[in-house]
């Protein structure tokens, strides 16, 4: 089967994806009084705590620091919740998969789409709240954001596809992944800046090897620094995105048909 065939097939199942996404959002919305706002409030509160604690600890200027944290934390949350959701996406759909044919990619894709909605809304809301506080002036560099965003989605989908397959064969992998992700979070310059930050100068190059650093940098640069990512950062991000998505698709398609026998 070719990739083109897969894409066509997923397109035929778009109605299913739409339903999964809207069903997830509706359930989220209904479960609580504040409803959907929780998913927006959550990163905001998270960010407020981080900003408070670290600006006191490292003596960063608060307003500017809040903007820095926001511009890294929102894409990171998208990435982290996507991987987390993709992990169980196929295992949880077992009941459906056993009774009806689906292109299995429908499930991880639905997870990514659900997170997209939250991602856009939280980015928007947080910018609207932060702009007046920090005297934020949008820069034309923001025009690079669609590309940043494409890279982020590609990485998340690619790794998410691998996580979804891996969880079918090793059910306890999700616990490992969640520990791993939280370590990764602290190793990525999100709550601390790399330049002028607490990391000693001679170790900074190590942090730049982190593939997620290049992705996060695609958001830091236009939102926080008000400038375009440097050509090397941009190249790194695109390479990371393409490699992750390529590997994810290859692995997923290799296992897709035999998944059902291990559910």
């Amino acid at each position: 089967m070719t990739l083109a065939y897969d894409i066509k097939e997923i397109w035929q199942f778009r109605e299913v994806i739409k339903n999964f996404v809207s069903q997830d959002l509706k359930v989220k919305y209904r479960r609580s009084f504040l409803g959907f706002f929780w998913s927006l409030l959550n990163p905001l509160l998270h960010m407020a705590v981080i900003t408070l604690v670290f600006s006191l600890m490292f003596r960063f200027p608060m307003g500017k620091y809040a903007l820095y944290v926001l511009s890294g934390l929102v894409p990171w949350s998208f990435w982290a919740t996507s991987i987390d959701g993709c992990c169980l996406s196929i295992v949880n759909a077992e009941g459906m998969i056993q009774r009806q044919y689906f292109p299995k990619m429908v499930f991880p894709i639905s997870v990514i789409m659900q997170n997209l909605v939250t991602f856009f809304l939280s980015l928007l809301v947080l910018l609207l709240i932060l702009a007046p506080i920090t005297g934020y002036v949008p820069s034309p560099a923001l025009l690079v954001l669609p590309l940043s965003f494409l890279c982020l989605v590609a990485v998340s989908l690619g790794v998410g596809l691998i996580a979804a397959v891996a969880t079918v064969y090793f059910r306890d992998i999700q616990h490992l992944i969640s520990v791993f992700m939280s370590a990764w979070f602290y190793l990525t310059p999100i709550i601390y800046p790399l330049e002028d930050g607490p990391i000693p100068h001679q170790y900074r190059w190590c942090f730049k090897l982190n593939p997620m650093f290049s992705i996060v940098q695609m958001f830091h640069r236009p939102i926080y620094d008000g400038m375009l990512p440097t050509p090397s950062e941009l190249t790194a991000a695109v390479i990371v995105a393409v490699v992750a998505l390529g590997a994810g698709l290859a692995i997923f398609r290799h296992f897709e048909d035999s998944l059902i026998f291990s559910l």
Partner: protein, 254 residues
């Protein structure tokens, strides 16, 4: 229409059966430390063995055989749920597998929303389902509960809804694993009539059942499966008689 068919060419399906359903990294790590070769005892099952079958337009095919003979597996291969290990399956027509009703129901969502969800899963557009919503709710007698979440339904109500959605469709190829119509007497009669009309509408029916009367009543062709192979096929009366004769020497319950 007029050219729906299913062809299976030399289809074999083998899969490994694991003694435990889940395998963990923890286990494989322990196995690695203890230098165990492969910690997961498996046995390979041949569920279908060189099955060739042609189901032409208009056929009502009944599949009979003992438990574990591969009847349901065959349905799952036809419906693409299981990919065959070798061989080829050609499908022409819109397949609706009703292996179990109520798939994909989300209990947090209302009955109405679940109708759309199930419809989408079965391959129908929102527009198409919108035209059928009223008929589905009417048949299930759940008009006034349409907006309540399914979790507040009684199990009977949920089943009625599931059945009504699943049968308010126009498949070209209908795959049935037993004919379901549980419920009170009033409901059962209604459900049977609806099932009958669904079966009449479909171009091809494939029915797996242990009830020989149903096979004789609904089907115009039958196959008898044993250990993953087709041992006899022909008119339902003959195949059923042969199957029953094979079971006669050692009368088994059911």
């Amino acid at each position: 229409m007029g050219d729906n068919y299913i062809t299976l060419e030399d289809v074999t399906l083998r899969f490994r059966l694991y003694s435990t359903n889940t395998y963990s990294i923890k286990e494989s790590f322990v196995n690695f430390l203890l230098r165990r070769k492969y910690g997961r005892p498996t046995s390979e099952i041949t569920a279908l063995k060189n099955v060739s079958l042609h189901i032409p337009h208009g056929q009502r095919l009944g599949i009979i055989g003992d438990n574990g003979a591969g009847k349901s597996t065959l349905l799952k291969v036809i419906s693409r749920i299981y990919p065959p290990t070798s061989g080829r399956v050609v499908r022409h027509g819109f397949i609706v597998p009703l292996l179990e009703v109520g798939i994909g129901f989300n209990h947090e969502l209302s009955g109405l929303e679940n109708i759309f969800l199930t419809g989408a899963i079965m391959g129908f557009s929102r527009r198409h389902m919108a035209e059928h919503v009223k008929a589905i709710l009417d048949f299930a007698e759940l008009q006034e509960f349409a907006d309540s979440p399914i979790k507040y339904y009684s199990s009977g109500m949920a089943q009625r809804l599931a059945f009504s959605v699943a049968t308010e469709i126009d498949p070209e190829i209908l795959l049935l694993d037993e004919i379901f119509s549980a419920g009170d007497i009033h409901w059962m009669e209604k459900a049977q009539r609806r099932m009958r009309s669904l079966i009449d509408r479909t171009a091809i029916l494939v029915l797996v059942s242990h009830q020989m009367e149903l096979i004789k009543q609904y089907c115009n062709h039958a196959i008898w499966m044993q250990a993953g192979q087709i041992v006899k096929q022909g008119p339902p009366d003959e195949v059923v008689a042969a199957y029953q004769a094979s079971a006669a020497p050692a009368p088994a319950p059911g």
